[in-house]
């Protein structure tokens, strides 16, 4: 006991250092978690959390009964699936390629270029896409016209929303996401390649039978991590790409919450929508992590 007391006293300067940060977590992370109670109320700003009417699960009943719900779920799942199957392999392929480029200066240059978009905001990236893909003034359509082709309504035709969404994701994040795979490839034992050469393996075969297997564990972990993020489709990107013409395919839970909640002030209902999303997300992360652990991999958290 005396020891604990001594440690506590010794820790006083440490607690002072922690205090501002702790206050942040309590005020801006935990207080909002507490404010979730309004999902079970008809929250009225004038009455506050304490005196608003309790309605139980009414808002959830409304959510599941609404046609919007299935549309939101479908859109979220499709965008996530595209991320999982089209975006996810891109950084792996890029890392494998970079690993094969033996000219150091070349490799560094490609890395510098491909990492860069990660640091741009989504506003800038979507902004550039508008300048490139707009039907009248966009560079791509101007190019099509000078080639004698028809214009394509890339930004407003709903059919192009999902491919464009995936492409922009790949464009922005592939380079950055490749870092972890590159780091893993850098740690592969060089004797493995030497042995493969002895056996007469071509560079292609070496990549296939030495490099790729070395990535197996990281790929599995990253894939599971991605699965855990199924409900997160990149809120800012979707919101910025969204317009009245593509909203049927671009509306996801977050953008719905923003539109109905903040813009139309339906606080209680949209808190319920957000809570549904967060809980499903949490279950997915926990499920994915325990799956990883059962597979004998180190967990994600």
């Amino acid at each position: 006991m005396a020891d604990t007391k001594k440690l506590l006293r010794r820790g006083i300067p440490m607690y002072i250092m922690i205090l501002p940060g702790l206050l942040y977590f309590l005020l801006f992370r935990y207080l909002p978690m507490g404010a979730i109670v309004i999902a079970f109320q008809n929250y009225d700003p004038f009455n506050g959390f304490m005196h608003s009417e309790w309605v139980g699960l009414d808002h959830f009943a409304r959510l599941f009964g609404e046609a919007d719900f299935w549309r939101l779920l479908k859109n979220t799942l499709i965008l996530s699936a595209m991320n999982l199957f089209l975006f996810f392999p891109a950084p792996i392929v890029l890392a494998l390629m970079l690993n094969e480029a033996r000219v150091r200066a070349f490799r560094k240059t490609v890395q510098t270029i491909t990492y860069m978009p990660h640091f741009l905001s989504w506003v800038v990236v979507v902004g550039i896409s508008v300048l490139l893909f707009a039907t009248q003034e966009g560079a791509v359509n101007k190019l099509f016209v000078s080639l004698g082709w028809d214009r394509i309504e890339l930004l407003t035709n709903p059919d192009y929303f999902r491919p464009l969404y995936t492409f922009m994701n790949i464009w922005k994040e592939s380079g950055w996401s490749a870092i972890i795979f590159l780091a893993t490839l850098a740690s592969v034992d060089p004797t493995l390649y030497e042995a493969a050469v002895m056996d007469g393996a071509s560079r292609w075969k070496q990549m296939l039978h030495v490099s790729l297997p070395a990535l197996k564990h990281v790929i599995l972990i990253m894939f599971i991590l991605r699965l855990g993020q199924t409900m997160d489709t990149g809120f800012e990107q979707v919101l910025l790409m969204q317009n009245t013409l593509n909203i049927d395919v671009s509306d996801v839970f977050d953008t719905y919450v923003y539109r109905v909640g903040i813009l139309s002030a339906e606080y209680s209902y949209t808190t319920a929508v957000g809570l549904f999303k967060s809980v499903v997300g949490l279950l997915l992360i926990i499920g994915a992590n325990s799956f990883a652990k059962r597979k004998g991999e180190e967990g994600v958290y």
Binding site: T4, G21, V110, T112, S202
Partner: protein, 287 residues
């Protein structure tokens, strides 16, 4: 080692693919940069082009005389400056203290931090808290809601944990207080880590968009990101376009705005790269 024909084809393919990838990343930038130096007339009358026939700085001159743009630019600088100072003070102090293995209650606080990475109150509840604290339409709403990135905190804590315990013990022997130890010894020794996180937070603050969108209604207080969105993206969607006074921007001005919004990041980027290339952010994630 002899090179066979298939190997040569393979290497050729690898280099070709990498060059194509780099071009796909670079060309959109290049287009926007080059055309921002064209005249409005040339952009509207001529078909597709990369190199303007007539080079002009008109767009940039116009932009830097435009009141709303200048205001937004200043706002972004201010948000980034103060925000990053707050981020760094709160994150480094907390990370340093939590790195002390002997600290009573350390595990509980770590758990509190970890939970916030898995679950959050959501957009609306956070908005209501910010509203309840009367922070709407002030930059505190942006600075405080993003004061600590839990991920950065954890990486930084692992970094401080790698400091030898002897350092702490010997300085205690010398009668050096904890805060002095932190400021005079730990901070100077941690400059690479501090520089890295400062840059990461700067990027985050400069790019802040959604929080500014929902918390700041007063358009005089908008940061550059919200201004750019208003000017470029909302206006492109004609059905949503808001009639802003003096909305006679030609395409080159839009391009110039994109460039100016992105350039500060491209300036700090080489510094950032110097550090993350060392891989300090990888492998130290688990703590």
């Amino acid at each position: 080692m002899k090179t066979t024909g298939t190997d040569r084809i393979f290497t050729g393919t690898v280099y070709t693919i990498l060059i194509v990838c780099s071009l796909v990343v670079l060309l959109p930038f290049l287009y926007v940069v080059l055309v921002s130096f064209a005249t409005k007339h040339e952009v509207l009358s001529r078909g597709f082009f990369l190199f303007p026939k007539e080079w002009t700085l008109n767009s940039y001159q116009f932009l830097f005389r435009e009141h709303n743009f200048l205001k937004a630019f200043q706002n972004s600088l201010w948000i980034t400056f103060v925000g990053t100072v707050i981020n760094m003070i709160l994150t480094s102090l907390m990370a340093y203290a939590l790195a002390k293995r002997w600290l009573v209650g350390r595990k509980t606080i770590n758990l509190l931090v970890l939970i916030t990475m898995l679950f959050n109150g959501g957009i609306i509840s956070t908005y209501l808290v910010v509203n309840g604290l009367h922070l709407l339409d002030t930059y505190w709403s942006i600075w405080l809601t993003g004061a600590i990135a839990p991920f950065h905190l954890i990486v930084m804590r692992s970094f401080f944990q790698s400091f030898p315990i002897e350092l702490e013990e010997s300085s205690r022997m010398d009668g050096c207080g904890e805060l002095r130890l932190f400021w005079n010894i730990v901070v100077p020794l941690s400059m690479p880590a501090i520089a890295t996180f400062t840059l990461f937070y700067m990027v985050q603050n400069w790019n802040t968009f959604f929080n500014a969108l929902i918390y700041i209604n007063d358009s005089d207080k908008w940061p550059l990101q919200v201004y750019l969105r208003q000017m470029l993206i909302e206006a492109a969607d004609s059905s949503m376009s808001l009639d802003i006074e003096g909305f006679e921007y030609g395409p080159p001005v839009k391009m110039a705005t994109v460039i100016v919004t992105a350039v500060p990041l491209l300036i700090v980027y080489p510094f950032l790269q110097k550090y993350f290339n060392k891989g300090m952010l990888l492998g130290s994630v688990k703590g």
